[in-house]
Amino acid sequence: MANPEAKSGSSLIMPGDATSTCWSCGTMRAEHFCSACGKVQPPVPVDYFTFFGLPRKLSVEVTGLEREFYQLSRKLHPDLYSGAEAREQQWSLEQSSQLNDAYRTLKDPIKRTEYLLRLEGVELEEQSKSATEQARASGQVKKQVVPPDLLEEVFDLNMQLEELRMQKKLGEDDPSLIEEIGRQKLELEEKHEALLEELKRDWTEWDHAVDSGSEEERRKIRDKMVDVLNRRNYLRNLVRDVNEVLESGS
Protein backbone atom coordinates (compact mmCIF):
# COMPACT_ATOMS: atom_id res chain seq x y z
CA MET A 1 0.00 0.00 0.00
CA ALA A 2 1.30 3.41 -0.87
CA ASN A 3 1.23 5.83 1.98
CA PRO A 4 -1.08 8.70 1.04
CA GLU A 5 0.86 11.07 3.31
CA ALA A 6 4.13 10.58 1.47
CA LYS A 7 5.13 13.37 -0.85
CA SER A 8 8.23 11.94 -2.49
CA GLY A 9 8.16 11.07 -6.17
CA SER A 10 8.61 7.36 -5.61
CA SER A 11 5.31 6.99 -3.79
CA LEU A 12 3.22 8.59 -6.52
CA ILE A 13 0.35 6.40 -7.46
CA MET A 14 -0.03 5.52 -11.12
CA PRO A 15 -3.44 5.86 -12.75
CA GLY A 16 -4.02 2.13 -12.76
CA ASP A 17 -3.41 1.93 -9.03
CA ALA A 18 -6.02 4.46 -7.94
CA THR A 19 -8.74 1.87 -8.08
CA SER A 20 -10.20 2.00 -4.61
CA THR A 21 -13.92 2.24 -4.21
CA CYS A 22 -16.09 5.23 -3.44
CA TRP A 23 -16.22 5.88 0.30
CA SER A 24 -19.92 6.71 0.04
CA CYS A 25 -21.61 4.24 -2.29
CA GLY A 26 -18.94 1.58 -2.68
CA THR A 27 -18.72 1.51 -6.47
CA MET A 28 -15.43 1.87 -8.27
CA ARG A 29 -14.38 5.46 -7.78
CA ALA A 30 -13.37 7.87 -10.48
CA GLU A 31 -10.43 10.26 -10.14
CA HIS A 32 -11.99 13.24 -8.38
CA PHE A 33 -15.65 12.32 -7.97
CA CYS A 34 -17.46 9.01 -7.81
CA SER A 35 -18.82 8.19 -11.22
CA ALA A 36 -21.89 6.58 -9.68
CA CYS A 37 -22.98 8.86 -6.85
CA GLY A 38 -20.98 11.97 -7.73
CA LYS A 39 -19.48 12.41 -4.25
CA VAL A 40 -16.13 14.11 -3.91
CA GLN A 41 -13.33 11.62 -3.21
CA PRO A 42 -10.35 11.84 -0.89
CA PRO A 43 -7.33 13.16 -2.81
CA VAL A 44 -4.86 10.63 -4.12
CA PRO A 45 -1.18 11.63 -4.28
CA VAL A 46 -0.87 11.37 -8.04
CA ASP A 47 1.48 13.42 -10.18
CA TYR A 48 0.06 16.52 -11.88
CA PHE A 49 -0.19 14.91 -15.30
CA THR A 50 -2.22 12.05 -13.88
CA PHE A 51 -4.38 14.49 -11.92
CA PHE A 52 -5.54 15.91 -15.25
CA GLY A 53 -5.68 12.48 -16.88
CA LEU A 54 -2.79 13.39 -19.18
CA PRO A 55 0.12 11.25 -20.31
CA ARG A 56 3.60 12.39 -19.26
CA LYS A 57 4.08 14.35 -22.44
CA LEU A 58 5.21 17.91 -22.84
CA SER A 59 3.24 19.29 -25.75
CA VAL A 60 0.19 20.20 -23.71
CA GLU A 61 -2.77 21.87 -25.31
CA VAL A 62 -3.16 24.75 -22.89
CA THR A 63 -6.70 25.84 -23.85
CA GLY A 64 -7.96 22.32 -23.17
CA LEU A 65 -6.10 22.24 -19.89
CA GLU A 66 -7.60 25.57 -18.92
CA ARG A 67 -11.11 24.38 -19.72
CA GLU A 68 -10.61 21.28 -17.61
CA PHE A 69 -9.19 23.41 -14.80
CA TYR A 70 -12.20 25.73 -14.69
CA GLN A 71 -14.65 22.86 -14.83
CA LEU A 72 -12.96 21.02 -12.00
CA SER A 73 -12.42 24.09 -9.88
CA ARG A 74 -16.11 24.95 -10.09
CA LYS A 75 -17.04 21.43 -9.02
CA LEU A 76 -14.44 21.20 -6.27
CA HIS A 77 -14.94 24.65 -4.82
CA PRO A 78 -15.05 24.41 -1.01
CA ASP A 79 -18.07 26.74 -0.90
CA LEU A 80 -20.13 23.96 -2.47
CA TYR A 81 -19.37 21.73 0.49
CA SER A 82 -20.24 24.05 3.34
CA GLY A 83 -23.20 21.83 4.21
CA ALA A 84 -21.45 18.52 3.59
CA GLU A 85 -19.69 16.23 6.01
CA ALA A 86 -16.49 17.56 7.55
CA ARG A 87 -14.33 15.08 5.70
CA GLU A 88 -15.92 16.05 2.38
CA GLN A 89 -15.18 19.68 3.13
CA GLN A 90 -11.60 18.71 3.86
CA TRP A 91 -11.29 16.67 0.65
CA SER A 92 -12.70 19.42 -1.54
CA LEU A 93 -10.21 21.79 0.00
CA GLU A 94 -7.31 19.41 -0.54
CA GLN A 95 -8.34 18.54 -4.06
CA SER A 96 -8.77 22.21 -4.91
CA SER A 97 -5.29 22.99 -3.77
CA GLN A 98 -3.91 19.99 -5.66
CA LEU A 99 -5.80 21.24 -8.71
CA ASN A 100 -4.35 24.73 -8.41
CA ASP A 101 -0.80 23.44 -8.02
CA ALA A 102 -1.20 21.08 -10.95
CA TYR A 103 -2.64 23.75 -13.21
CA ARG A 104 -0.08 26.39 -12.31
CA THR A 105 2.73 23.92 -13.02
CA LEU A 106 1.42 22.42 -16.24
CA LYS A 107 0.26 25.60 -17.97
CA ASP A 108 3.74 27.14 -17.78
CA PRO A 109 6.09 25.67 -20.40
CA ILE A 110 9.20 25.95 -18.22
CA LYS A 111 7.61 24.80 -14.96
CA ARG A 112 6.02 21.91 -16.84
CA THR A 113 9.37 20.82 -18.26
CA GLU A 114 11.15 21.18 -14.92
CA TYR A 115 8.40 19.22 -13.23
CA LEU A 116 8.54 16.41 -15.74
CA LEU A 117 12.31 16.21 -15.41
CA ARG A 118 11.94 15.92 -11.63
CA LEU A 119 9.38 13.15 -12.10
CA GLU A 120 11.89 11.46 -14.36
CA GLY A 121 14.44 11.52 -11.58
CA VAL A 122 16.61 14.44 -12.70
CA GLU A 123 18.17 16.09 -9.64
CA LEU A 124 20.21 19.05 -10.86
CA GLU A 125 21.77 19.93 -7.54
CA GLU A 126 22.53 16.32 -6.65
CA GLN A 127 24.21 15.84 -10.01
CA SER A 128 26.30 18.95 -9.57
CA LYS A 129 27.41 17.88 -6.09
CA SER A 130 28.37 14.38 -7.16
CA ALA A 131 30.27 15.77 -10.16
CA THR A 132 32.29 17.93 -7.75
CA GLU A 133 32.98 14.94 -5.52
CA GLN A 134 34.08 12.98 -8.54
CA ALA A 135 36.40 15.79 -9.62
CA ARG A 136 37.88 15.93 -6.13
CA ALA A 137 38.49 12.18 -6.05
CA SER A 138 40.07 12.05 -9.48
CA GLY A 139 42.00 15.33 -9.38
CA GLN A 140 40.16 16.34 -12.51
CA VAL A 141 38.52 19.64 -13.11
CA LYS A 142 34.74 19.49 -13.13
CA LYS A 143 33.11 19.97 -16.44
CA GLN A 144 30.91 23.05 -16.35
CA VAL A 145 27.35 22.40 -17.40
CA VAL A 146 27.07 25.59 -19.41
CA PRO A 147 29.42 26.57 -22.23
CA PRO A 148 32.39 28.68 -21.01
CA ASP A 149 31.64 31.49 -23.45
CA LEU A 150 28.17 31.88 -21.94
CA LEU A 151 29.77 32.14 -18.49
CA GLU A 152 32.18 34.79 -19.80
CA GLU A 153 29.31 36.73 -21.30
CA VAL A 154 27.29 36.53 -18.10
CA PHE A 155 30.28 37.65 -16.05
CA ASP A 156 31.14 40.57 -18.32
CA LEU A 157 27.60 41.86 -18.50
CA ASN A 158 27.36 41.64 -14.72
CA MET A 159 30.51 43.76 -14.45
CA GLN A 160 28.94 46.39 -16.70
CA LEU A 161 25.74 46.31 -14.71
CA GLU A 162 27.69 46.85 -11.54
CA GLU A 163 29.43 49.83 -13.06
CA LEU A 164 26.12 51.31 -14.15
CA ARG A 165 24.63 50.78 -10.70
CA MET A 166 27.58 52.60 -9.20
CA GLN A 167 27.22 55.47 -11.66
CA LYS A 168 23.52 55.77 -10.92
CA LYS A 169 24.27 55.96 -7.24
CA LEU A 170 26.60 58.86 -7.92
CA GLY A 171 24.02 60.44 -10.20
CA GLU A 172 26.18 60.37 -13.30
CA ASP A 173 24.80 57.99 -15.93
CA ASP A 174 27.04 57.27 -18.85
CA PRO A 175 24.76 57.23 -21.94
CA SER A 176 27.11 55.06 -23.97
CA LEU A 177 27.16 52.40 -21.24
CA ILE A 178 23.38 52.45 -21.02
CA GLU A 179 23.18 52.11 -24.78
CA GLU A 180 25.65 49.23 -24.76
CA ILE A 181 23.74 47.39 -22.03
CA GLY A 182 20.46 48.03 -23.83
CA ARG A 183 21.92 46.50 -26.98
CA GLN A 184 23.08 43.41 -25.10
CA LYS A 185 19.68 43.13 -23.50
CA LEU A 186 18.07 42.79 -26.92
CA GLU A 187 20.51 40.04 -27.80
CA LEU A 188 19.78 38.26 -24.55
CA GLU A 189 16.06 38.40 -25.19
CA GLU A 190 16.56 36.95 -28.64
CA LYS A 191 18.64 34.11 -27.23
CA HIS A 192 16.03 33.55 -24.58
CA GLU A 193 13.35 33.22 -27.24
CA ALA A 194 15.51 30.89 -29.28
CA LEU A 195 15.98 28.63 -26.27
CA LEU A 196 12.25 28.30 -25.83
CA GLU A 197 11.95 27.25 -29.46
CA GLU A 198 14.74 24.74 -28.94
CA LEU A 199 12.93 23.40 -25.90
CA LYS A 200 9.73 22.98 -27.88
CA ARG A 201 11.59 20.87 -30.43
CA ASP A 202 12.84 18.73 -27.57
CA TRP A 203 9.24 18.33 -26.35
CA THR A 204 8.23 16.85 -29.68
CA GLU A 205 11.10 14.40 -29.52
CA TRP A 206 10.26 13.54 -25.92
CA ASP A 207 6.57 12.94 -26.65
CA HIS A 208 7.54 10.73 -29.51
CA ALA A 209 9.99 8.80 -27.34
CA VAL A 210 7.34 8.29 -24.66
CA ASP A 211 5.33 6.31 -27.20
CA SER A 212 8.03 4.42 -28.97
CA GLY A 213 11.50 5.33 -27.78
CA SER A 214 14.04 3.31 -25.85
CA GLU A 215 15.14 4.22 -22.32
CA GLU A 216 18.43 5.34 -23.87
CA GLU A 217 16.67 7.75 -26.23
CA ARG A 218 14.59 9.20 -23.45
CA ARG A 219 17.69 9.74 -21.34
CA LYS A 220 19.35 11.62 -24.20
CA ILE A 221 16.37 13.93 -24.63
CA ARG A 222 16.18 14.49 -20.87
CA ASP A 223 19.82 15.58 -20.89
CA LYS A 224 19.17 17.93 -23.78
CA MET A 225 16.30 19.56 -21.93
CA VAL A 226 18.36 19.91 -18.75
CA ASP A 227 21.01 21.65 -20.83
CA VAL A 228 18.51 24.09 -22.34
CA LEU A 229 17.03 24.90 -18.93
CA ASN A 230 20.48 25.47 -17.44
CA ARG A 231 21.39 28.00 -20.09
CA ARG A 232 17.99 29.58 -19.79
CA ASN A 233 18.39 30.19 -16.06
CA TYR A 234 21.37 32.43 -16.70
CA LEU A 235 19.63 34.39 -19.40
CA ARG A 236 16.51 34.81 -17.30
CA ASN A 237 18.51 36.19 -14.36
CA LEU A 238 20.48 38.48 -16.61
CA VAL A 239 17.44 39.93 -18.33
CA ARG A 240 15.86 40.47 -14.91
CA ASP A 241 18.98 42.22 -13.55
CA VAL A 242 19.42 44.34 -16.66
CA ASN A 243 15.83 45.54 -16.47
CA GLU A 244 16.18 46.27 -12.80
CA VAL A 245 19.26 48.43 -13.32
CA LEU A 246 17.99 50.20 -16.42
CA GLU A 247 14.70 51.06 -14.75
CA SER A 248 16.09 52.12 -11.40
CA GLY A 249 16.28 55.74 -10.41
CA SER A 250 16.35 57.23 -13.89
Binding site: Q134, R136, A137, G139, K142, L151, E152, F155, L229, N233
Partner: protein, 143 residues
Protein backbone atom coordinates in the same frame (compact mmCIF):
# COMPACT_ATOMS: atom_id res chain seq x y z
CA UNK B 1 16.08 33.44 5.35
CA UNK B 2 18.51 34.36 8.07
CA UNK B 3 22.18 34.32 7.23
CA UNK B 4 24.72 33.25 9.82
CA UNK B 5 26.96 35.90 11.35
CA UNK B 6 29.95 34.62 9.42
CA UNK B 7 28.10 34.85 6.11
CA UNK B 8 26.99 38.37 6.96
CA UNK B 9 30.55 39.30 7.88
CA UNK B 10 31.97 38.04 4.57
CA UNK B 11 29.06 39.52 2.67
CA UNK B 12 29.32 43.01 4.09
CA UNK B 13 33.09 42.91 4.29
CA UNK B 14 34.29 40.57 1.56
CA UNK B 15 38.01 39.73 1.53
CA UNK B 16 40.09 39.79 -1.60
CA UNK B 17 37.58 41.18 -4.06
CA UNK B 18 39.20 42.09 -7.34
CA UNK B 19 41.01 40.66 -10.28
CA UNK B 20 44.49 39.85 -11.52
CA UNK B 21 45.95 39.74 -15.00
CA UNK B 22 44.57 36.51 -16.40
CA UNK B 23 47.32 36.39 -19.01
CA UNK B 24 50.10 36.30 -16.43
CA UNK B 25 51.99 33.03 -16.31
CA UNK B 26 51.69 32.91 -12.52
CA UNK B 27 47.95 33.49 -12.43
CA UNK B 28 45.31 30.80 -12.67
CA UNK B 29 41.69 31.77 -13.33
CA UNK B 30 38.56 29.77 -12.61
CA UNK B 31 35.18 30.92 -13.87
CA UNK B 32 32.32 28.72 -12.75
CA UNK B 33 28.57 28.93 -12.56
CA UNK B 34 25.59 27.38 -10.85
CA UNK B 35 22.80 27.31 -13.39
CA UNK B 36 20.20 26.36 -10.76
CA UNK B 37 20.40 29.92 -9.47
CA UNK B 38 22.29 31.72 -12.23
CA UNK B 39 25.26 32.62 -10.00
CA UNK B 40 28.70 33.19 -11.52
CA UNK B 41 31.96 33.13 -9.62
CA UNK B 42 35.46 34.05 -10.74
CA UNK B 43 38.39 33.07 -8.56
CA UNK B 44 42.02 33.78 -9.36
CA UNK B 45 45.20 32.60 -7.72
CA UNK B 46 48.77 33.79 -8.04
CA UNK B 47 51.27 31.01 -7.51
CA UNK B 48 54.95 31.25 -6.66
CA UNK B 49 56.65 29.13 -9.34
CA UNK B 50 59.44 27.99 -7.01
CA UNK B 51 57.47 27.01 -3.93
CA UNK B 52 54.06 26.36 -5.55
CA UNK B 53 52.58 28.42 -2.74
CA UNK B 54 49.47 30.48 -3.54
CA UNK B 55 50.63 33.96 -2.64
CA UNK B 56 47.54 35.89 -3.58
CA UNK B 57 43.92 35.19 -4.41
CA UNK B 58 41.10 37.36 -5.72
CA UNK B 59 37.47 36.77 -6.44
CA UNK B 60 34.42 38.38 -7.93
CA UNK B 61 31.03 36.75 -7.50
CA UNK B 62 27.64 37.71 -8.80
CA UNK B 63 25.14 35.86 -6.70
CA UNK B 64 23.54 35.58 -3.30
CA UNK B 65 25.15 36.36 0.03
CA UNK B 66 26.12 32.74 0.60
CA UNK B 67 27.88 32.52 -2.77
CA UNK B 68 29.81 35.71 -2.03
CA UNK B 69 30.72 34.51 1.46
CA UNK B 70 31.79 31.07 0.17
CA UNK B 71 34.12 32.55 -2.41
CA UNK B 72 35.45 35.17 -0.02
CA UNK B 73 36.27 32.42 2.48
CA UNK B 74 37.80 30.29 -0.29
CA UNK B 75 40.28 33.05 -1.17
CA UNK B 76 41.21 33.39 2.49
CA UNK B 77 41.78 29.68 2.83
CA UNK B 78 43.86 29.13 -0.31
CA UNK B 79 46.26 31.97 0.45
CA UNK B 80 49.48 30.59 1.91
CA UNK B 81 48.66 27.03 0.93
CA UNK B 82 50.50 25.11 -1.75
CA UNK B 83 48.54 24.21 -4.85
CA UNK B 84 48.27 20.59 -3.72
CA UNK B 85 47.06 21.62 -0.26
CA UNK B 86 44.45 23.90 -1.78
CA UNK B 87 43.11 21.00 -3.81
CA UNK B 88 42.19 19.29 -0.53
CA UNK B 89 39.65 21.95 0.43
CA UNK B 90 36.20 20.43 0.49
CA UNK B 91 32.89 22.17 0.11
CA UNK B 92 31.69 20.55 3.32
CA UNK B 93 34.34 22.49 5.25
CA UNK B 94 32.97 25.72 3.81
CA UNK B 95 29.44 24.66 4.76
CA UNK B 96 30.60 24.04 8.31
CA UNK B 97 32.57 27.23 8.68
CA UNK B 98 29.75 29.42 7.37
CA UNK B 99 26.89 27.34 8.85
CA UNK B 100 25.22 27.23 5.44
CA UNK B 101 21.69 25.82 5.38
CA UNK B 102 20.94 22.88 3.03
CA UNK B 103 19.46 25.13 0.33
CA UNK B 104 22.77 27.00 0.12
CA UNK B 105 25.11 24.03 -0.09
CA UNK B 106 25.43 24.55 -3.83
CA UNK B 107 27.18 27.87 -3.09
CA UNK B 108 29.96 26.00 -1.30
CA UNK B 109 30.14 23.49 -4.16
CA UNK B 110 30.59 26.42 -6.51
CA UNK B 111 33.47 27.77 -4.42
CA UNK B 112 35.23 24.40 -4.44
CA UNK B 113 34.70 24.19 -8.21
CA UNK B 114 36.21 27.65 -8.59
CA UNK B 115 39.35 26.72 -6.62
CA UNK B 116 39.84 23.61 -8.74
CA UNK B 117 39.19 25.44 -11.99
CA UNK B 118 41.74 28.14 -11.07
CA UNK B 119 44.37 25.57 -10.16
CA UNK B 120 43.64 23.60 -13.30
CA UNK B 121 44.11 26.74 -15.39
CA UNK B 122 47.41 27.51 -13.65
CA UNK B 123 48.66 23.94 -14.15
CA UNK B 124 47.72 24.03 -17.80
CA UNK B 125 49.63 27.27 -18.29
CA UNK B 126 52.65 25.91 -16.54
CA UNK B 127 52.71 22.66 -18.45
CA UNK B 128 52.04 20.45 -15.49
CA UNK B 129 51.79 16.87 -16.70
CA UNK B 130 48.82 15.99 -14.54
CA UNK B 131 46.61 18.94 -15.42
CA UNK B 132 44.83 16.72 -17.88
CA UNK B 133 45.42 13.41 -16.18
CA UNK B 134 42.90 10.78 -17.08
CA UNK B 135 40.47 9.71 -14.40
CA UNK B 136 42.14 6.85 -12.52
CA UNK B 137 40.25 3.61 -12.82
CA UNK B 138 37.95 2.88 -9.92
CA UNK B 139 37.82 6.43 -8.61
CA UNK B 140 34.65 7.36 -10.44
CA UNK B 141 31.75 8.14 -8.19
CA UNK B 142 28.90 5.76 -8.67
CA UNK B 143 25.55 7.18 -9.71
Amino acid sequence: MAYSDKVLDHYSNPRNVGSMDKNSQEVGTGLVGAPECGDVMKLQIKVNPQTQVIEDAKFKTFGCGSAIASSSLATEWVKGKTVEEALQIKNTEIVKELSLPPVKIHCSVLAEDAIRAAIHDWKKKNGSANANAPVPAGSQASH
